[in-house]
Symmetry: none
């Protein structure tokens, strides 16, 4: 596998270097874009400023993205990949549907908190994203919803959950996670993330879990 083993091996090495550089540059762009987007929004973020912030030239940016919109997608994609990775990972292996749901919600909220700018952008810049991008986002949200609604359906079957409409309930959980980003200007002065999560979990459990089981889950919430 040394450089001289084969021209093929050589090429692979070059490819690896290239891929690493691409990842590195996209990371630079992502970081700079996240900062500027949260300060100014998409329209007011100038490519010139972005280049300055990222410490590269305008031309370099266009070597790694095709349009300004791609930069927005880069940022939004980042949070979506986090959702797709973190939420199932947190839920995996937990048998009890209430515990599983709580773990998923908690993970979802933590991702929102870690990417607050991006979470906001997904709401604010809908109109700056192309139809395809938009549809992909909605598709992915539906996918995440289904993790929640599967729990709820499970729990309703086993009698742990009160009879609710799983589609609204799961969409509502997603909404409450996003709420941490959307209403951060208001909530921030009252709570930190963990407090917020506990408070909302308390709300969610009272709303969803069958009355007779609620006391078993008091450890999940703030005012148990």
């Amino acid at each position: 596998m040394s450089q001289s083993d084969s021209p093929n091996g050589n090429l692979e090495g070059i490819e690896a270097v290239r891929a690493a550089r691409i990842e590195w540059r996209l990371g630079q762009i992502l970081t700079a874009a996240t900062k500027l987007l949260s300060q100014q929004g998409f329209q007011k973020m100038l490519i010139t400023d972005l280049a300055k912030e990222a410490g590269v030239s305008v031309g370099t940016i266009y070597q790694y993205v095709n349009t300004k919109e791609d930069i927005l997608l880069l940022v939004v994609n980042d949070i979506i990949e986090s959702y797709r990775h973190e939420v199932p990972a947190a839920m995996e292996g937990i048998e009890d549907p209430v515990e599983r749901l709580a773990a998923g919600f908690r993970a979802y909220c933590m991702v929102v908190d870690a990417h607050r700018t991006a979470a906001l952008l997904a709401y604010q810049e809908t109109k700056s994203i192309s139809r395809e991008g938009r549809e992909r986002l909605m598709q992915l949200e539906v996918e995440t919803n289904s993790y929640f609604s599967d729990c709820i359906k499970d729990g309703m079957r086993s009698g742990k959950f009160a009879p609710v409409e799983p589609a609204v309930a799961s969409a509502t959980l997603t909404m409450l996670a996003h709420m941490w980003a959307l209403k951060h200007w208001y909530l921030n002065s009252l709570f930190d993330v963990k407090e917020y999560i506990n408070s909302q979990l308390s709300f969610i459990i009272r709303a969803l879990v069958a009355t007779e089981h609620q006391k078993s889950y008091s450890h999940l919430s703030a005012f148990g």
Copy 2:
């Protein structure tokens, strides 16, 4: 009451005509802007197109607003005034805090439904609104929240409500009303507004009302 009765009466008449024209023109602009904003967003809505849609000239628009941003504020103001009027009106005179809260939430959701575009815009176009406009919007949301949190505090004192954090709970109610606009793309295929409201009221009542009182309010929700 003839023209010559008094110069004063005449002047008043002229002023009244003027005021009526202003209101009419602003209405034209509001209607056209609401349509175009929901289709294209603020940045992509051109004044030229707006003029065409409203059936007036560009110059006429600028006789009634000072900047493009004013047009956005016109639309957002409209929904805010509806909140301020409809929500307290719906809650007024209802003694029972649960019933009062439910009536307020229902009214809030109905306003959102009637102004779905504007409700969305308030989230999407934050960055297009000046600092002052933005602060005014937040201020007004806090004001509406307080109608809800007052109910909740009342209910907690009388033991009808479970002990919850009123600030989060009321903010959550507001969020769930806005959710009808924010997630309309998803919810619309499952429910109409009334069903949505009932479903969320059921959720809210289970979450907030003390267990022993819940059955008294089954009439407020869908799956009683």
Copy 3:
């Protein structure tokens, strides 16, 4: 000649009233325009503001002038008519060419002083005046120059004036009169009009009058 004498007489009366109204309205416009033009220049003077200043409606202005440029011409014409009237009047009947020239220069300067705004405008707004208007202005200046150059030629023939180029000399006198308007920002702090006139007459007489006659005209200037 009473109203009932003839339909003709009646018409004449109506015509007279009309002419008087036109003169009155043009006077209103002239006064207001002179004020605004001196403050803001032609381009920045808005018809709307002019109407407000004149205390009439925009429509009324356009009943008495055809274009915005006409308003400029109105103001410039006013000063030109003053030149044409005042300068020859002041020179008339004075035999001695030096005295006559001095009287003309003095009158010219006084007109400039009384219409400083208009005198400036003739230099500043050349580009806002149509070719015809511009040519008429130049034509009239040449005409006034000739009053001065006639004096100079007279004086040179009689030996009172030193031999000079009459075309430059007369143009220079005109220029020195205009100078009171053009450099008013500077001269104003040093002199009033009369002092300025005397000072320049002293300069002019030394420059033009033959050495042996100069002392006869010391009464015309400041530092005699």
Copy 4:
């Protein structure tokens, strides 16, 4: 001196190239602007047309100036810098105050002749120039005036000059130099610059120089 000699040398080279390009571009803009401004005036000169005339794009122009007014200042600055450089240079080292004044006046007129458009613009476009720009122009004119008035005071002390008011006299000299641009439409048909200068110098010397010394300076003027 190769590229690799020092990174420092390289950077300096880049900066030098940049500075040279800026100068070149500003020169292109200056030339084109001078042409269009003299034809159409400031308001009617469109940036689009300027770009076409200069052979660059609109965007390029705005890479070298910030506003349209800057272009006007570019042109006016050019003549002012010429005044500041040429006039003192021409006067330097000449002992005799009359000779010195004559040399300064001659140089001033030559600059006016070489920049006739710009000299005119300084009078015509006052209202298009911001307060600061305007004040700077007046300040610089006062500065040039002082070169002339210093000569005159010198000459009066030594008895070569007749007693005159130095402030008016120097302002008048400046005015007579500007006159070549302001009245070019008239003077051009009668004289060339040199003839004009000689004619005015003759006028100036008769007006300022004490009678007994006048014949010593007949070489300075046309009709000695």
